[in-house]
Symmetry: C2
Subunit: 219 residues, 2 copies
């Protein structure tokens, strides 16, 4: 019974890693679709999102069955409850990558991002890619250095989001309304990706260390 439980907990962890890798791919592809106006990549992110939704459903069902059949307590129970939250956050990160890909697809053959904002979005894309890689690393190894990287990437994403937003209000900016909306919304999508990554990271840090550090795992 115990061995079965251990195997099932391990499968649950593997499902989350699979979701994390899927999100990492989606973010990398959405980034490139956006920065290079690549409509095929944009399309692949949009088409593949359903797969992420399927894994999330599997994770949810596995969590309910694990609790019902094994009646875990203590850290095992908290790990399972955290898995529910983490899968929801990963699914949402995938949605945000999808929204970015949709904007890239809509603008095609043009870029959704005017030249003036290319550098900011390269920064957003790089930080989001980094955070996705760090989330996968954290899920795989529980190495807390990855948690620190996630917080640092989130700071970068917040700063760049704020820069992007402020740049639109600068009288020197003379983009179209569509460009204004794309920049504002996509910068926000990147910023939200960072928030979800931080939420996942806090959950895992809590499981590993028992330390809430005064903040709730807000995911």
């Amino acid at each position: 019974m115990r061995t079965l439980f251990t195997a099932e907990m391990s499968e649950l962890a593997d499902d989350l890693i699979a979701m994390g890798r899927h999100v990492e791919t989606a973010i990398n592809r959405a980034n490139e679709a956006l920065l290079t106006a690549n409509v095929e990549l944009a399309q692949s992110v949009i088409a593949d999102d359903a797969r992420l939704d399927d894994i999330e459903e599997t994770v949810d069902e596995r969590c309910v069955l694990l609790i019902a059949q094994q009646q875990p307590v203590g850290l095992d129970l908290r790990t399972i409850i955290s898995a529910l939250r983490i899968s929801a956050a990963l699914e949402r990160m995938g949605d945000l990558a999808q929204h970015i890909a949709e904007a890239a697809r809509r603008a095609y053959p043009d870029s959704a991002i005017p030249e003036s904002h290319h550098a900011i979005f390269e920064g957003l894309a790089a930080a989001a890619a980094e955070t996705a890689t760090a989330v996968v690393g954290l899920l795989e190894t529980r190495d807390l250095n990855a948690a620190a990287a996630i917080v640092s990437d989130d700071d970068k994403l917040d700063d760049l989001h704020s820069q992007a937003y402020q740049s639109l209000l600068d009288p020197a900016f003379n983009g179209t309304t569509q460009e204004t909306l794309d920049i504002a919304l996509m910068a926000r999508f990147y910023e939200r990706i960072g928030d979800h990554a931080v939420g996942i990271s806090r959950r895992i840090v809590y499981l590993v260390t028992g330390d809430h550090k005064g903040d709730r795992a807000r995911i």
Copy 2:
């Protein structure tokens, strides 16, 4: 033991109702703050959001303890797992009301919404208020008519969000960039409030009827 469990399940339900009422108040106040440029109301929404976060934490902790101590199965277990999802969705609805209040506060003494868009935002505010009331009703009574109202309000919110967005791209619109950004982001916040309400509604419909209707409870 069973009586204690029943009492604890009832307290869990009460916590969710309390969260729902809190969200309803936050949405109503954010609406009025936005539509009438009332900075005191905006301030109260922002200040009160921490209370919602506290109740969410209580709900989460209660769910973990209920599972650990009572080892529920079947519908009881699914009800508790759903409570975790519902509390997260309610907390997020509160955040969105807070974001709307923040925009109202920032624009004060002006209105964040230009006269040209007042009617659309009256519609968004009314649909969001309705959906919050329906969510409370659904949590209190499990009356499935409330679920139908939530879906109908979500359709209204989606339509009005889309109208607001399209109106910004109309060459006839000559608002400032700040107005453009406020309209786009706030219409999106209202639209997201509707999405979270639908997610809550699907969870409860599933608990009451066992019917997934082919869609996942995506919250």
